[in-house]
Assembly symmetry: C2
Homo-oligomer: 349 residues x 2
């Protein structure tokens, strides 16, 4: 796609941003008002029962029995507001949990509540094998019992602060920050507490979160899937499984987009926004991902897709890191996203 064509593609969104982002207040006066919920709760989607001989290495608990894995924990809140907006499902990235979308490290309102206060039912998940979604300990216990070799242990990784610093584009290298960078570094300690080890690299085939998302979308009668980073590919895979209840996809800095040569029919007519923050050109890792998402956009749109790739500095929103839902201007980005949703996603009756 030529630079001109790309610029032309941006124009509607830039106008949208001028309308949305230039508003004097980033939060409504009502954001301090009591929050009225119609209902809230939590449940699981997905999951399967497995027999195991390696559930325990404690004498008092039998190693033998049935264990349930691959399920996905979902916490939801439905606003009392009468004006109906599409349900949003928030899917965190690597080495994080649903906490990603809640209160920011510096104590401000998270995206979960921002969109709830604007009339969206909000669903926040923990990926399969993460957080409140169980892992199977058998892979560890079988090695502890001497039944399997140590090199069969799961890949179970968490980046250290120093590694994450660069991956999350707080700066070029730890502890140096990019100029104008908007992550609240004074509260980084609270952010490091959000990080958890990631078992997903040991899961064969499609991540179990994917069919669970398709199930969730059906169960709640339609939703926009909002991914982050590692989970970027999941909504596309869920739509390929069953697109009937996927009303749109918002991929926040996806680690991967579908390949241009993939079957692109599931994305025909599906409103899709892929958004990246600032400093992408300074990060070879993320620059490559932005490029591959643009290649996907071009191929998908040639096949009837409605994919947009947006890079926030092109819209005049600067300083965003990979954790843009937690940056100081997180609600400015949310407000821009809310305007995009209002323009692109039709409500179902």
């Amino acid at each position: 796609m030529s630079r001109l064509a790309r610029l032309a593609g941006l124009l509607p969104l830039m106008a949208l941003c001028l309308f949305g982002c230039a508003a004097p207040a980033l939060t409504d006066a009502s954001d301090d008002a009591p929050l009225a919920l119609k209902r809230q709760g939590s449940f699981f989607v997905g999951g399967r029962d497995l027999p195991s001989e390696d559930l325990s290495s404690l004498p008092v608990i039998s190693p033998k029995g049935t264990v349930t894995v691959d399920q996905v924990y979902v916490r939801y809140q439905v606003p009392a507001a009468q004006h109906r907006r599409p349900a949003l499902t928030f899917i965190h990235g690597c080495c994080l949990t649903g906490k990603t979308w809640e209160t920011t490290p510096d104590g401000r309102m998270g995206w979960d509540e921002f969109f709830l206060r604007r009339g969206h039912p909000v669903y926040v998940i923990d990926q399969a094998w993460r957080g409140r979604s169980a892992v199977n300990p058998a892979g560890v216990n079988a090695v502890k019992a001497g039944k399997r070799a140590a090199d069969t242990l799961p890949v179970y990784v968490v980046p250290g602060h120093e590694t994450a610093w660069q991956m999350f584009r707080f700066g070029p290298d730890y502890p140096n920050a990019f100029s104008g960078m908007q992550f609240p570094l004074e509260s980084q300690g609270e952010f490091w507490k959000q990080m958890v080890p990631d078992w997903s690299y040991s899961l064969a085939g499609t991540n179990p979160t994917v069919p669970a998302l398709a199930e969730l979308a059906g169960k709640i009668g339609g939703t926009v899937l909002v991914s982050h980073s590692q989970s970027g590919i999941y909504p596309f895979q869920a739509a390929a499984l069953d697109a009937r209840n996927v009303q749109g996809i918002v991929a926040v800095e996806p680690s991967a987009c579908p390949a241009p040569q993939a079957d692109l029919r599931p994305y025909r007519g599906l409103p899709t926004l892929i958004v990246f923050g600032d400093y992408v050109a300074q990060s070879p890792y993320w620059a490559a991902r932005l490029k591959s998402c643009r290649d996907f956009m071009q191929a998908a749109n040639a096949a009837g897709g409605r994919v947009e790739v947006q890079v926030l500095p092109d819209l005049g929103i600067r300083g965003n890191t990979h954790m843009l839902m937690q940056d100081r201007n997180s609600l400015q980005v949310a407000q821009w996203l809310e305007a995009w949703l209002a323009q692109r996603i039709a409500m179902r009756d």
Copy 2:
């Protein structure tokens, strides 16, 4: 304690139950009304930074770096209601997470929302090294890398359904249920999805959740600590660390109470309720724990304590399992507990 003395001790609570439990409706009409929150969010307490060389076995993520562990995830909701009731902090048990207190497996309101709707600020945690509270993967990765022997792998256990069935007193043995048992077995699949492996048996010394609870109590200016099962001892240990902001302890079927010969001064004047469900006599494991908690009660009260041990069938509430906050009559038990809180816990100004 003689049987007569024990009966006499029960009388005030039995009266309380007659008042509370005999009310025609277990939920207020307002339980279906919109829920008004003053504020909500999530944060962490506790946590410490550790250097590590074993954070990753993936070539693309450095194994070296700083990791933060021992922190405790806290989700909270403060009701908009003007009448002030004490804050409650809910602490789950073994092989479970904060999900314990949310929507029941059969889709009814959890204790988190029940007490919120009655004016209590509610804090729900994930124990350290569980759920959204990170574990350190170094103990697995060092073995995978051949740097440590397989038998140094963490104790990482989850009971299978068949084992849990008996531990949770659904029945004498899987799949037989106790007569009149109130756990919603038709929804057991949703309950099994709540179970996660438990790393805590590998943590040396006092569980890091304990100082985190004391920190939380201080941070929020006072709270009643409500434990379950494995976490039963934590509130007592937290009060021993710093009792200033522990307004009361409710131990639901604790796996352990403090030893009668322990220093019992921290519990002087501290309203404490230890509650067990039904079928305890049929379970040697739980019968022994009930007995040891009664021994603690006697010793603590002789030293100025205000400890009560209640067994629900003695109050006319029958059929409760170890998961009494999820049993069919969970809100009847909650209503009884609410009456206890109203009588025993003074509000602070």
